[in-house]
C-alpha cells in the first residue's frame, strides 16, 4: 500500500473530508488555506482563499474545522478569527459570510443542505454557543442573526455532527459528554456520558445511522445516532484524535498518538503515530499503517470504502488505496 502524499499546508492538518461522490478531498489546516484535491491522484484542484481583504487577513491563522456537504451544493468552513464562509464547492464562489465573536470549532450542513450549524469557542470572554442559520432566509445572513442559538457555557462543544434527517445535532463536549440538541427547539433530546475525557472527533457512518467518537481518554466508541446507545469500544494506549467507519466493511480506522506538546525529540516510536484498524464487531485491532511523523489529527474513509486518508500534525495528508488483501482479510470466527 503506497500512499499519495499531499503537500499543500504549512501547518498541522485539522480536518479532511471527502465529498459525497468521493472524487474530491478537502483539507483544512492551522495555516490560512483550505485545499481541494482530486482523491484519485492527489492533484490539487484549488485553494479557497477564504478571506480577500488584507485588513484582517493577518488575523486568520487557524482554520479550525470544515464541513463539506455530501451532495455537491455549498461548502462551509469555520475559522478561528470568527467567520463562517459558505462557498460553492467547485467554483469557490462565496455565497455567505457569517460573523461570530469567537473561533468556530465545528460546523456542518443538515441533510437537506439548507441549515448550517456551527459552534463557537469559549474564548475572550465570549461563551460557547451552538448556532443555527437557515440559508434559505436571506434576512438571517444579512443580519448575522441565527434563528436558534443554544448556549453551552459549562462544557464547551469540541465536536458536533448532524443526526440523520436533520432533526438534531449530536455534540461532544470537553468533559466527554454527548448531547442531542434539537435543531428546531434547541432543547436537549438525549444525553450520554461514556467517555471520561474530551471528545476530539465525531464522524457518522455513511448512512448516518451510527457514529464513532474519538476521545482523549484513549478510546473510540461506536454509538447509535438516534438512541445514543453505546455499541462498541475500541481501546488504544494513546489519545485518539479521529475515527471513521468504513462504508463497506465492518471496520473502523482510528488516528491519534501522543499529544503534540508531549512529543519528545527522542523517538517517533514512542508516540505511536500509526493509523489503527479495528474490527467493528470484535473490537480487535487487526492492522496498522505507519507514515506520519506526528500525531494523526483526522482520518476519513472514501465513500466507496476502497481508500482512506489521514491528515497529521506534521502537515501532510496521505491518501491510501487498500491492497486487494485488505478486502479478503477475515478474522477467524
Amino acid at each position: 500500500m503506497k500512499p499519495i502524499l499531499l503537500q499543500g499546508h504549512e501547518r498541522s492538518i485539522t480536518q479532511i473530508k471527502y465529498n459525497r461522490e468521493g472524487d474530491l478531498l478537502f483539507s483544512v489546516a492551522k495555516d490560512t488555506v483550505a485545499n481541494v484535491w482530486y482523491s484519485v491522484n492527489g492533484e490539487r484542484l484549488g485553494t479557497y482563499n477564504g478571506h480577500t481583504g488584507a485588513v484582517w487577513c493577518w488575523l486568520l491563522y487557524l482554520v479550525v474545522s470544515c464541513w463539506w456537504t455530501y451532495w455537491g451544493g455549498p461548502v462551509g468552513y469555520g475559522t478561528s478569527d470568527g467567520f463562517v464562509n459558505v462557498h460553492v464547492a467547485f467554483t469557490g464562489k462565496q455565497l455567505a459570510l457569517l460573523h461570530t465573536n469567537s473561533a468556530v470549532r465545528t460546523c456542518g450542513f443538515d441533510f437537506s443542505g439548507n441549515i448550517i450549524m456551527f459552534s463557537t469557542d469559549k474564548q475572550m470572554g465570549y461563551q460557547c454557543y451552538l448556532n443555527f442559520f437557515d440559508l434559505r432566509d436571506p434576512q438571517q445572513i444579512s443580519d448575522n442573526q441565527p434563528y436558534l442559538s443554544i448556549p453551552c457555557s459549562e462544557q464547551k462543544i469540541t465536536s458536533a455532527v448532524w443526526g440523520p434527517l436533520g432533526e438534531f445535532v449530536i455534540a461532544g463536549h470537553e468533559n466527554g459528554e454527548f448531547n442531542q440538541f434539537s435543531a428546531k427547539s434547541g432543547e436537549v433530546l438525549k444525553k450520554a456520558k461514556e467517555h471520561t475525557k474530551q471528545i476530539n472527533d465525531i464522524q457518522t457512518s455513511l448512512d448516518l445511522t451510527m457514529f464513532i467518537s474519538a476521545s482523549k481518554d484513549n478510546t473510540a466508541k461506536l454509538f447509535d445516532c438516534t438512541s445514543l446507545d453505546h455499541i462498541k469500544t475500541f481501546k488504544t494506549e494513546r489519545p485518539v484524535n479521529s475515527a471513521a467507519i468504513s462504508p463497506i466493511m465492518d471496520h473502523v480506522v482510528m488516528g491519534g498518538g501522543q499529544e503534540a506538546m508531549e512529543v519528545t525529540t527522542t523517538s517517533t516510536r514512542i508516540g505511536k503515530f500509526e493509523a489503527r484498524f479495528f474490527h467493528a464487531a470484535y473490537e480487535e485491532e487487526f492492522g496498522r499503517v505507519k507514515g506520519h511523523f506526528g500525531p494523526i489529527n483526522c482520518v476519513a474513509f472514501h465513500p466507496d470504502g476502497k481508500s482512506y486518508s489521514s491528515g497529521g500534525e506534521d502537515g501532510y495528508v496521505r491518501i491510501h488505496y487498500f491492497d486487494p488483501q485488505y478486502f479478503d482479510f477475515e478474522l477467524e470466527a
Partner: protein, 704 residues
Amino acid sequence: MISNKAPIQPALSKVATSHISRLLTPTDVIIVSFNAHWSLTQSPDSHSLWPCLSVLRPELLDDILREKPQEADGIDSVVVVDNVPQVGPERLEKLKNVIHKIFSKFGKITTEFYPEADGMTKGYIFLEYASPNQALEAVKNADGYKLDKQHTFRVNLFTDFDKYMNISDEWETPEKQPFKDFGNMRHWIEDPDCRDQYSVIYEAGERTAIFSNDAKEPITVEERARWTETYVRWSPKGTYLATFHQRGIALWGGEKFKQIQRFSHQGVSLIDFSPCERYVVTFSPLMDTKEDPQAIIIWDILTGQKKRGFHCESSAHWPIFKWSHDGKFFARMTPDTLSIYETPSMGLLDKKSLKITGIKDFSWSPGDNIIAFWVPEDKDIPARVTLMQMPSRQEIRVRNLFNVVDCKLHWQKNGDYLCVKVDRTPKGTQVYGEGGVLNLFISRVNLTCCFLLTESIIAFAWEPNGSKFAVLHGESPRINASFYHVKNNGKIEPTLICMYVHQHCCMSCVQCLYVFFSVCSMNGALAFVDTSDCTMMNIAEHYMASDVEWDPTGRYVVTSVSWWSHKVDNAYWLWTFQGRLLQKNNKDRFCQLLWRPRPPTLLSVEQIKMIKKDLKKYSKIFEQKDRLSQSKASKELVDKRRAMMEEYRRYREAALQNYHEQKSIRLELRGGVDTDELDSNVDDWEEETIEFFINEEIIPLGDL
C-alpha cells in the same frame, strides 16, 4: 389547647420553631408535656430549652438533639501543668506572665486557672487552648520544660488524667489470644496446574492485584483498591504479602489474602524479612527518639510482638541488617565494627561486637553460617577478604588483594562459591581500574582461584543452581557478555564458554539460567542465550523496558515498563525462557510486578533425579494437556467472536431497516434526488481526464 402554641414560640430558638408544627400535629400527649415544662421555656437562656425538648419526643427531635452541647465539650483543649512554682499573691502576676510566654507559643490560651490555698498557689495550673490540637502540641513540646533547677514542668492533657484514674491498680494477666486459623498458608502451591502467582500494582498505586500466571492470559486471584500506599513485598518463601501504610505494615496471606498480622510503625518506608520468615525488620525515618530507639524495629511475625528497636546510625544501604540463611543470626556494620546478633534473644552474640578496622562490606553465605567481609588497603597493609565461621568466629579463609578500588561479594545461591569482583587501579595512577579481577572461593573446599579479565567488569551474575556465571565486560558501546563454567576437579579453572558482542549496552544486568538480559539506556534489548550449547536463541526488544523479573521456576520472564520510571506505555510483557513473547499486558499506569517466591522443594535429590530421568513420560502428559487447553482457548475465542458478531449484525439489521423506511423522507429533503448510493445520480456526472504523475528515470546500461 392550641392557644398554648403562641406563648411558647418566642422562647424557642430559630431551629426549634420549624419543628413546632411537627410537635403539635399528632395532638394529645405532646401538648400536655409542653405545659409541664412551661417555666423552663421562659428562661432567656436558650440552653435551658434542651431538657424540655428532650422530654417531649426524643425520636421526633433527633436532628436537633444532636446539636445539644455536651458537658465535656472543650475538655480536650485543657492541659494540666505540674511543678509550677508556688507563689504568693505578690508574685502571681509575674508567674502568670512567664507561664503565658511559654505556653502561648502553642496556641491561643482562652482560660487559665491557678488554684490557691492559704494565699499561695498550689503548684499546678489549668490552661485551656482554643483547640485540642494546640493542647496536644503543648503537651508534646512543653512536657519536661526546665523552668529552673527545682521546677521541671510536667504537662498532661486533662482527659489523660481521667483515663489513667480509671486504670485499676491490680495486675490483670492478659487474656490468651485464641489461635486464629488462616487456612492453608501455602494454598497457592496446591494449584493443579502449578501456576505461579505475581502481584501487580497499577493505576499509579491505586489498585493492587494478584494474578496466577498462565501462558494464555493471567487469571485474577485477588484485586483490591488502595491495598497499599506505596508498594508491596513478598516474604522470601512467598507466604506473606506485605503492604505499606502510613501507620505501619500489614501482612496478608492464606487462600483469600486475609490480614494476618499488623505492625504499627509510623512512616515505615523499608522492610526486610528474615529468610526463615519468622522476623521482619521495618525502617521508618520519622520515629526516632534518644531514649527509645524506633528507627528500625524487628518484629516477630507469628506473635506480632516488637522484639527490639534500633537506632539508624549511619545511612547505609538497605538492608542494614543482613540475615544468615537460617535466620539464627543477623548482623549490621558500623564504622570499624561488625555487630552480630542472635535470635530469638535479639542480643549481641557473645555480648560483644567484632572489631574490624575499616570494614567496607560484608555478606552472609546463603548456605552456611559463614560471613564474608572485606577491608580496603591501609598504607602498607594490603586489602583482604575474610571468610569467618559463625558463631565460633573462626577465620576460615583470608586472601590479600592489591591495588583495590572496590570489591563486590557475590555468593552463589547455594553458598558453594563466593566470587569477589575486584576493581583495580592500574599501577601508579588512581583512576578507575581498567581491568577487573574475579577471585573465586570455594567455601567448603579449601581452594581459591584468581582470574583476571583485561576489561572492566560491568555486571556479574551466578547461575541460580549450578556453577556457571556470566560477566558483562568492556567499555560502552562495545560490551561483551561472557559465560564461564567453574570446574570442580581439584583445581578450579573457569573455562570460557562463549562470548557475544553487544553494542550500545549501557546499563546491564545479567540473568544466567539460560538467558541474559541487558537494559540499554533507551531501548530494552533482550538476548536469550542457551548456555548449555551457547546458542543465541532469540534477540528481542521491549522498548523502554525498565525491569526484568524471572518467575521462581525459571520458565517465564517478565519485562516491564514501570510508571515510576516512564509515564507512557506502562505494561508488562511475558516471555518464555526461549524468548517467545506470550503476552502483552497493558495496565493503566502500571507500577510494579513481583513474582511470589516459592518455598524450597520438599523432594529429595534422588526424587528429583528420578523425575529428570522420566521426563519424557511426563512431558507427553503435559503436551496433551497443553493441546487440550489450546484448542479449548481457540474455541472460546471463536465462540466469543461469533456472539459479538451476532449481536452486531442484529443491531445493524434493525438500523438498516429503519434507514430504508426513512427513504421517502430523505428524498423529500434533497428535492427528490436519490443520494443513497454512490452512483445513484450518474446523469449529473461530468467526465474528467486525470493525469497521473509517473516518474521517469533513464538508467544507461553499461557494457554487458
